[in-house]
Amino acid sequence: PMATTGFHELPELPYGYASLEPFMDEATMVVHHDKHHAGYTRNFNAALTAIQAAGGEGAKICTMSPENILRQLNTLPITPEQRTPLRNHGGGYWNHGMFWSVMAPPKERQEHPTGHLSTAMANTFGSLDAFKKEFSKVGAGVFGSGWAWLVAEGPQENPTLKVVSTANQDSPFTVGQFPLLVVDVWEHAYYLRYQNRRPDFLEAWWQLVNWKTVDDRYKEYTGKN
């Protein structure tokens, strides 16, 4: 069986499987992390192993971070057949890791953005509520499988904030954007408890968002503390 360790490890959840109840159920967390995320991890490692074995220029990407692989996805010295699994499984590996990190048990999380991020968001969206409305709308509107994101783009000193969506496991890194916040809207992310009611899932999900992670990522992008 392919390993969930190797080039990249399946990250542990930062909290217990049941700690996001009642907004996200334990059963979903178990399957989502132990089956879906684990599957992407294994397949990502397998893809990198194959690229390494093939030798040549491509082999050096095996030491790159997943973020950089996704950033440079379209210019890596590899074949299209090698690129596709990196896009799907590398994307799946990284996206799910970020997804766990932007959530926290409802009572342990930071409930609002602070500092520079808070200012930037007020300037861009008007209010936190207006932002949430826009984000939920984009998330609900994804046709089929994908993700909704808050991203930063442009110069470090004065980035633009945007709400975007990607299909399947595509990453904003690939189009030069820097993810700050993400929600998984593949059906497997909410189906067991919410079935087809994706808008209800998104409304509940806000009770889990840990804005500390988002603050930290914004600081990482701008270099400002």
Binding site: V31, G144, S145, H188, Y191, L192, Q195, N196
Partner: protein
């Protein structure tokens, strides 16, 4: 000249087949009256009736899962479609081109979903009503499949492995390619319809959106695809195939009239 061609073909068609064709043509004409392109109040799109009870597809598809898929997802798409078609009607009356263009994307999604799901329910059947049973080896459809694919097992394995690999949300299909007259495997993403991919007539639809299998199989799409063959209604697939080739030969709705005229001429 077309009549001469038909006359050439005519003697090869058995009375049974002619009766089948007449019934199919009549039903196709009748069906076309339900589909008003503007979705008027009296002719709203509706959830099609299932030919089986909600628990009839167990153990392949549980009652719970079928209930959610049919009464929540499909019903939701139909309701949304009706709202959108009403809005489209208004936008067209007002000649609001921006609105029309915006609506068309959502209509494509919800309408496509209605088409796809309607085909899906119909090409499944409980085992006691023939689900899983392969067509008769003497049938034209069976012979076409074996001529092209070798045997049904090969075809089934191919569809299963390809459908497993569909990334994200989509559908796996068997379709009749009108130009080549071949039975081909196709994939569509999201709720795109098979006709959006070209000159294709749908024969078999398999939903591989996660909602189609998640409650019973969780992430194990391969398991769902392995089991689903026990409830595939090959009779329905065959019926669509016959309809497809006959439509091609005789320009669908006009077939009935051609047949009557030719019969009268010869007698």
């Amino acid at each position: 000249d077309i009549e001469n061609q038909i006359y050439q073909i005519q003697p090869k068609m058995s009375p049974k087949l002619i009766i089948l064709v007449i019934i199919l043509s009549a039903s196709s004409i009748a069906r076309s009256f339900n589909y008003d392109c503007l979705g008027n109040e009296i002719e709203k799109y509706t959830l099609p009736n299932l030919d089986y009870e909600l628990d009839a597809l167990e153990p392949v598809i549980s009652k719970t899962m079928l209930e959610v898929h049919y009464n929540k997802h499909h019903a939701g798409y139909v309701n949304k479609l009706n709202i959108l078609m009403k809005q489209l009607q208004e936008a067209m009356i007002n000649r609001d081109l921006s609105k029309i263009v915006n609506l068309l994307q959502d209509i494509q999604f919800n309408g496509g979903s209605h088409i796809n799901h309607s085909l899906y329910w119909k090409n499944m059947s409980p085992t006691k009503l023939g689900g899983g049973k392969l067509p008769d080896p003497s049938s034209k459809f069976y012979q076409h499949i074996t001529a092209q694919w070798g045997n049904f097992q090969t075809l089934i394995q191919y569809i299963t492995s390809r459908a497993t690999g569909i990334k994200g949300s989509g559908w796996a299909w068997l379709a009749y390619q009108k130009e080549s007259k071949q039975i081909v495997y196709e994939e569509t993403l999201g709720q795109d319809t098979i006709s959006m991919k070209g000159n294709l007539i749908p024969l078999l639809a398999i939903d591989v959106w996660e909602h189609a299998y998640y409650i019973d199989y969780k992430n194990l799409r391969p398991q769902y695809l392995k089991q689903i063959w026990d409830i595939i209604d090959w009779q329905e697939v065959e019926k669509r195939y016959l309809e497809a080739i006959l439509q091609q030969l005789f320009c669908s709705k006009n077939y009935l009239l051609f047949q009557i005229r030719i019969r009268m001429k010869w007698n």
